[in-house]
């Protein structure tokens, strides 16, 4: 049996579901004061995460999140067969100096804020093909490293337009596997929850509408999100209502409006099912976050803290997770280049695992 069936020009439907064994999220103080505050695994009030530079802080954050995901899956570091990780910084140093020093086989990724989607896309392809039993997918962002990398020194105190998003200080990590977590989880008493599985992917393409405003990332990324969602629906022969939720990464208020308009031009009315991680993580009215949250850590932390538990519990039966990324650097921006976007689509579904005493479960 082939591990997956290719659909259309850019989707894969896996022959057997890829299981999400565990997920972990660690965020900063501001995120810990937002609407999802009770759902994160850890909230760290020290923005330096115990380190001396912002970059070391982000590395520390990503490493802690990855370690927590490994621990929650009941595994040890050396049980992880391969790692897919990346971040927003030049030469992805948050990852290189973070989880990468766990000594694990490592594939470094750059997908801007779509990195969790890229990691899950590649990780699920590898898991479905039997290339590794436990695969770690992780990413992070940090408000202070991102401002330093892409915009102005923090002490400059620049004014932010209302279209600007606020980079999330946070990290999300998942362990995925071709084997069901139930057997492994019996001893943890979590088997009655059911779990979330990845059943398909739609690989992102870089879409360039010619936007040049790095303080309106939602606008830059919305065309790519539209492109991926449309290809997913067509490749899988689905309509918008086949998904309980279509959740983008970090379009924010401005990007959401553009996405819904672009989708309606393609004949899809997604207003009732669309959510955006950037709009879930902050209360824009009270937290001064303008258009919403952004950064690799935004979709990754919301996935781990909110989306996966909703799927595992069965509240959501099928979700299209579409992290969105803006492909710019300060050099490309300063040289006047446009800001193209990319979005990777991951189809996630609920899978039931009814507890049976005959299987050794002690919870029934």
């Amino acid at each position: 049996m082939n591990p997956g069936k290719t659909l259309g020009s850019s989707s894969i439907s896996f022959s057997r579901p890829v299981y999400i064994e565990s997920a972990a999220s660690v965020v900063g103080k501001k995120e810990g004061e937002g609407p999802l505050k009770k759902k994160f695994d850890k909230i760290c009030r020290d923005p330096m995460f115990g380190m001396t530079t912002w970059e070391e802080a982000e590395s520390s954050l990503q490493k802690e999140t990855a370690s927590l995901a490994i621990q929650k899956a009941g595994l040890k570091t050396q049980d992880i067969r391969m790692v897919f990780a990346g971040d927003l910084l030049a030469q992805t140093i948050a990852s290189s100096f973070g989880i990468a020093d766990m000594g694990l086989p490592y594939y470094g990724l750059y997908g801007a804020c779509s990195t969790m989607g890229e990691a899950l896309s590649l990780g699920s392809m590898a898991a479905a093909a039997g290339y590794g039993e436990h695969i770690l997918c992780a990413t992070s962002s940090h408000f202070a490293t991102a401002e330093k990398e892409f915009r102005y020194p923090l002490s400059y105190g620049n004014q932010r337009p209302l279209s600007a998003t606020w980079t999330v200080t946070g990290s999300g990590a998942c362990i995925i596997s071709s084997l069901p977590p139930r057997e492994k989880r019996l001893s943890h008493g979590q088997c009655k929850d059911g779990c979330a599985v990845i059943t398909g992917i739609t690989t992102g393409r870089i879409v360039d509408f010619g936007f040049r405003d790095s303080l309106n990332m939602g606008g830059c990324m919305a065309p790519a999100a539209c492109d991926t969602i449309c290809r997913n629906l067509r490749d899988f022969h689905r309509t918008v209502s086949d998904y309980d939720v279509i959740v983008t990464g970090d379009l924010g208020e401005v990007g959401q409006k553009i996405l819904l308009e672009l989708l309606s031009r393609e004949g899809f009315d997604a207003a009732s099912v669309h959510q955006d991680c950037g709009l879930l993580i902050y209360d824009n009215q009270t937290q001064d976050t303008h258009s919403g949250g952004s950064g690799c850590g935004c979709s990754a932390a919301v996935l781990a803290a909110h989306i996966l538990p909703e799927i595992a519990s069965g509240n959501w039966k099928r979700v299209l997770f579409v992290p969105t990324g803006a492909m710019l650097s300060k050099v490309s921006y300063n040289e006047g280049a446009s800001v193209p976007g990319i979005a990777h689509g991951i189809v996630m579904e609920h899978k039931d695992f009814p507890c049976r005493k005959s299987d050794g479960c002690t919870d029934v």
Copy 2:
């Protein structure tokens, strides 16, 4: 049948070989004056590649090389199912603005100068699993973008220590497939050549020996190359002599000495089979390149121009290709962090395709 068998902690032996359908190389003037000058597909004397900034020049170079690889495989752009690409620049903009705008499903990678190894590693996993018939793996580097990104303005005219390497202005691209190229190549009259196949991989790990000298990249990367080569030999139960050549990416003279010393401490005498792309591409004596060539484009261009033809012709029966990368950014360097290394191992073998008239070949 599973697409691959996992070996040891970090290797995969593919159940069926992954075919290299085509490979292309485009380099700059200096590389075109070196020992491999007759083997590159194109030598461009204009360092701007017809563009107005160094970054656009590198994007143009990478796109041209990718297009040439697609053309040499007898394919059209839309035949490519997915792309694995990356480069050295912050936020990998050479790739984002280069081949990525071909509108193809795209996975952006960051593996520093090991990127061609990372791309072939992920690409061959995807091809072996049947996730796409034609997969493009590409990378590039440019002397001027790399100096700007990591070191000094060119006009500053800094002195280079003898341990420094010279970043190659060049790009290499391959099309890989789960199907033999012979059938497709019959009409091109190339079937009698045999071809190069990928039969296994060893995923790189980040290895940090604590070196901090960004002008001695060979020294920083040699421990990672040693780690990957040793794991490959142990995982596949092979000795050094099972390979005709073990070819690293860009260790240069200084890194080669360290690698051979480290390997001998592990019980492997690789002096007679080791080659380094950074030592093959320039004549260090006459070209003022000190320790040798480096950059993503170094191993990628030498692979396409020299290594793959040697394998396809049968001169080399089995080769371990080990592109090496140094995981630093100017921020990590300026903050005093070490320069860890990574190396991805790709096992390449010769595969014969004797021509048969009964198959419709017109060459016999």
